[in-house]
């Protein structure tokens, strides 16, 4: 009996020392770790919506999102940034998604994942010749509401070979979060298609670039918008950096 008690107490002593050391190290590092996570999140938000200079955290219904503005006065909304969380192969995958006002994706960035190295982690790998993660950049310019994997019925999102679950989780989480945002925005009336945003609020003399930032630009001047987009695509294809 004494023997068992002494063994138990010895084990307990070791565990107490271990627990205290862990608690102490955790206390020392907790602030730094959450600061790093927040810094990574903010950098990701800026990266996925590069046209915006100021971000404001908002809530529409149950969903939190960031709205990006091109100007300090927060009058020219560039788009939204949402956080999509999907159940990957081995844990949650957190993706920051930049959406333009019409819910096309400006960029995505996967900020947290614990997928299998070499398979699911290829979602964030940088291609050898290019500089951007190929899996993430393929989402640019597509409508966030209509994303489908090539494996799930001929969609245009290329799944990673051997990591279908990872690819599907990311794609579906983006679609569902974007849909949720769209629904909640329509309810609160902040939708870009609502009537009050349709009127011209810019001076008559305005440069094309400035004009393009107005929310009504596409609706009022579709041909101008199209030709501007084509010109942008051509200049970035010719080797402009992101």
């Amino acid at each position: 009996m004494k023997k068992i008690l002494s063994l138990g107490l010895t084990l307990m002593a070791f565990c107490i020392i271990a627990g205290l050391s862990l608690g102490y190290i955790n206390y020392l590092t907790a602030d730094k770790i959450s600061a790093q996570a927040e810094y990574a999140r903010m950098s990701a938000i800026k990266e996925v919506l590069p046209d915006a200079t100021i971000f404001e955290e908002k809530k529409a219904g149950e969903i939190k999102y960031n709205e990006g503005f091109a100007d300090e006065g927060k009058t020219q909304s560039v788009g939204y940034v949402i956080t999509a969380i999907g159940k990957g192969f081995s844990g949650d995958i957190v993706t920051i998604v930049g959406l333009k006002k019409d819910f096309t994706i400006s960029a995505i960035e996967i900020v947290a994942q614990t997928e299998t190295p070499g398979l699911g982690t290829r979602a964030v790998e940088v291609a050898e010749k290019g500089k951007e993660p190929w899996f993430e950049t393929q989402y640019d310019g597509k409508s966030a509401l209509l994303l489908v994997l090539d494996k799930d019925g001929g969609g245009d999102i290329k799944a990673i070979t051997g990591a279908t679950i990872t690819s599907r989780a990311i794609t579906k989480s983006i679609v569902s979060k974007a849909k949720e945002l769209k629904e909640n925005l329509s309810i609160t009336g902040e939708d870009s298609t609502s009537a009050k945003q349709d009127t011209c609020s810019h001076p008559a003399e305005i440069s094309l670039e400035e004009h393009a930032k107005c929310p009504h630009f596409k609706a009022h001047h579709p041909e101008l918008a199209d030709s501007l987009e084509k010109a942008k695509k051509e200049s970035s294809a010719k080797g402009g950096s992101k």
Binding site: S6, L7, T10, L11, F14, C15, A18, S21, L22, I25, N26, L28, T29, K32, I33, Q36, A40, T114, T116, P117, G118, L119, T121, E128, T161, G162
Partner: protein, 201 residues
């Protein structure tokens, strides 16, 4: 055991993966390419060396019949401390190694060496044992990862070497490929061992 035998044993004679059959789980799971093998090897070596040192220091305080839980507590605590400190002060390295760090806790090599060597040998020898086993583990993982990467992806350390016309054998980077590659390496190691020691095992 002489110093030279002690420092060299981890590479062939007592190779943790190929001869002692320790640490097979991470060896198979993360070696989908060479750089993963290297990353895992380095992280595990660091923990192994430190764990051997600590356990060798406390060996006289540990009652024999509860030594296993105590070793596990020491190892898991140490790995968690490493994880927290890296996440706070070296975030770039921490996210590069990512999931490898918590995976080290389940690496049998650490517990295996604690039990078989560090708890019975002095500090210096335990330190050398840790370095040797860790280096052998890393080398094995790099070779395993490189083999699977070349056949399964046409690249090595991310650089394409098989040319554009090579159709990668994707199987090699999936679990079955891991087992095949490991089997070949074990055979290779045994053959090499025979040549070196002149005995059949």
């Amino acid at each position: 055991m002489t110093f030279s035998k002690n420092i060299a044993k981890g590479f062939l004679v007592e190779n943790p993966v190929l001869v002692l059959a320790l640490g097979l789980c991470p060896a198979l799971a993360v070696t989908t390419n060479a750089i993963n093998g290297l990353g895992m090897g380095i992280a595990a070596t660091f923990v192994l060396v430190m764990s051997n040192i600590i356990i060798s220091l406390i060996k006289s305080l540990v009652p024999s019949n509860i030594r296993i839980p105590i070793f596990i507590v020491v190892i898991a605590t140490f790995v968690t401390i490493v994880k927290l400190v890296m996440a706070a002060y070296t975030p770039a390295l921490s996210s590069a190694l990512g999931i490898f760090i918590p995976l080290i806790v389940v690496n049998c090599i650490i517990l295996g060496r604690a039990e078989a060597f560090a708890s019975k040998n002095n500090l210096f020898n335990s330190l050398i044992d840790g370095i040797s086993m860790g280096a052998g583990f890393t080398a094995t993982l790099i070779i395993l990862g490189a083999f699977r990467e070349i056949l399964g992806n046409g690249t090595i350390f991310g650089a394409s070497i098989m040319g554009k016309s090579y159709e990668p054998a994707i199987l090699m980077i999936l679990p079955p490929g891991a087992f095949f590659s490991l089997a070949f390496m074990v055979v290779g190691a045994k053959w090499l061992l025979e040549k070196v020691t002149g005995q059949r095992s």
